[in-house]
């Protein structure tokens, strides 16, 4: 592997300072499951690697009545096992347990998945559907933006040199809310999404009509998409087959997939519809307090 220097600062300000001073030639290291491979293959060539795992702010994992704070270095294993996430932010737990295998989940973080900005990232649709906001540290203060605005293209995002994703903040879901993420892969596990869909649904007090919905799509555009038009088809309506089919049709309209070894564009468009329907039904079932019939890899 190419030569680089290594620092593991304890303070957030020190990490931001290191990243800013090396202006683009430094890369933050969380789980390293993408970074170390990218350095080895020459796709990235940093002079300095800044290990951010010793910084308290990046390890925050706290849920209360105001919402969820998820530090950018918190591992998938921690996320998938966290009772409040399983209960109230289930789509995140769904994603965290299908990213790579157990070894990868013990290292990889949701923040890292977001910052690598792969179009097929399994956790980003969940982060978007759950209304995540990215908290970014910069040399002069902090900034915040909605997760759907974070990625800008394959492997690209809004982070400027010297900026560091610190945490993702999620609003507390209202009563009668549920969420789900599901992807299609031809295997049972250890694969990259052909299409991935996340949805977060809130029902009224009778658990009949949808009062709020967010749907996000992965692997069908240069970046994960918030499917605003698809979610709008659900709001104010009961979840009949027709209504769900209209949401699926609206989601298909904004998808602009490519053809590659994982599937043709036509196939992906078909999958968007199938997955939106299944994910919306599952998220709504969770909103009603029902267990869903879903096992990762099935």
């Amino acid at each position: 592997m190419r030569d680089f220097d290594y620092e593991a600062p304890l303070q957030l300000a020190a990490a931001v300072d290191l990243l800013a001073r090396h202006s683009g030639a430094a890369r933050p290291l969380a789980g390293g499951t993408d970074l170390i491979d990218h350095v080895r293959t020459g796709r990235l060539s940093p002079d300095l690697i800044v290990d951010i795992k010793k910084i308290a702010e990046l390890n925050v994992l706290a849920a209360d009545a105001t919402g969820l704070r998820l530090g950018a270095a918190v591992t998938c294993t921690q996320v998938a096992a966290h009772p409040a996430i399983i209960q109230n932010y289930a789509a995140l737990a769904d994603s965290a347990q299908i990213i790579g295998g157990v070894q990868i989940q013990n290292r990889a973080s949701i923040g890292g998945n977001l910052c690598n900005s792969g179009p097929a990232a399994d956790s980003t649709p969940s982060v978007i559907a759950l209304g995540g906001r990215c908290v970014i540290a910069r040399p002069k203060g902090m900034r915040e933006l909605p997760a759907e605005e974070f990625c800008t293209g394959p492997g690209k995002n809004v982070l400027a040199p010297g900026e560091l994703l610190v945490e993702i903040r999620f609003p507390a879901p209202p009563a009668h809310s549920g969420s789900h993420y599901r992807r299609f892969i031809p295997r049972n596990e250890m694969d990259i999404a052909v299409v991935g869909v996340a949805a977060a649904i809130t029902l009224d007090s009778q658990k009949q009509k949808v009062t709020a919905a967010r749907i996000a799509l992965g692997a069908v555009a240069p970046k994960p998409l918030l499917a605003t038009e698809a979610a709008a088809e659900l709001v104010g309506r009961p979840l009949t087959d027709d209504v769900i089919a209209q949401a699926a049709a609206a989601a298909r309209k904004i998808a602009t997939p490519i053809t590659d070894m994982r599937g043709t564009a036509e196939y992906r468009l078909h999958l968007v519809g199938v997955l939106v329907e299944r994910v919306v039904r599952a998220a709504a079932a969770r909103a009603r307090g029902e267990a869903i019939d879903y096992k990762p890899g099935h």
Partner: protein, 160 residues
């Protein structure tokens, strides 16, 4: 060249101090610096699980960990599994069940199994298969491995 670092860690229960460059992975340090060659390199990109070791009790692919990240960590490798010259339950079950052919993937499978049984002493076949998804074997077809893991779990429970 980046300066070598002194890293203090615990490996298989012993305090170990080693020198490494930041660019050396934990796998390279184990094999090339510490001469612990039981951990194997397969794909070197985190897909095959051959280089699985336990870091603070959790399995990781050591090809995707920097040696410098082992500072303060507890590492367990295949060399630390047998005790007093005796194979442990998992090793014995792999041997008796012929759950290996060429053997390159075996140390990784055994470490991954150790982690599974520590967490879940009575896994179902499906749980075993899901837990071992990050370990590839190109010889056995997995069936004998899965049966060996289930046999090891049963034997371990009987011994407790």
């Amino acid at each position: 060249m980046a300066k070598k670092r002194v890293v203090q860690t615990t490996i298989n229960g012993d305090a170990v101090e080693f020198l490494c460059e930041p660019r050396q992975t934990l796998l390279e340090v184990l094999r090339d610096v510490l001469n612990l060659t039981g951990t194997k390199e397969g794909c070197a990109n985190g897909n095959c699980g051959s280089c699985t070791v336990l870091m603070n009790g959790r399995p990781v692919t050591s090809c995707l960990v920097l040696g410098v990240e082992a500072e303060g960590a507890e590492i367990r490798t295949i060399e630390g599994v047998a005790c007093g010259g005796h194979l442990d339950c998992v090793q014995q079950a792999f041997l008796e069940g012929a759950a290996l052919q060429c053997g390159i993937c075996t140390p990784g499978f055994i470490m991954q199994t150790e982690a599974l049984l520590a967490e879940n002493p009575q896994p179902t076949e499906e749980q075993v298969r899901f837990h071992l998804a990050g370990n590839l074997c190109r010889c056995t077809g997995y069936d004998k491995i899965v049966r060996a893991v289930l046999a090891a779990a049963e034997k371990k429970r009987a011994n407790v």
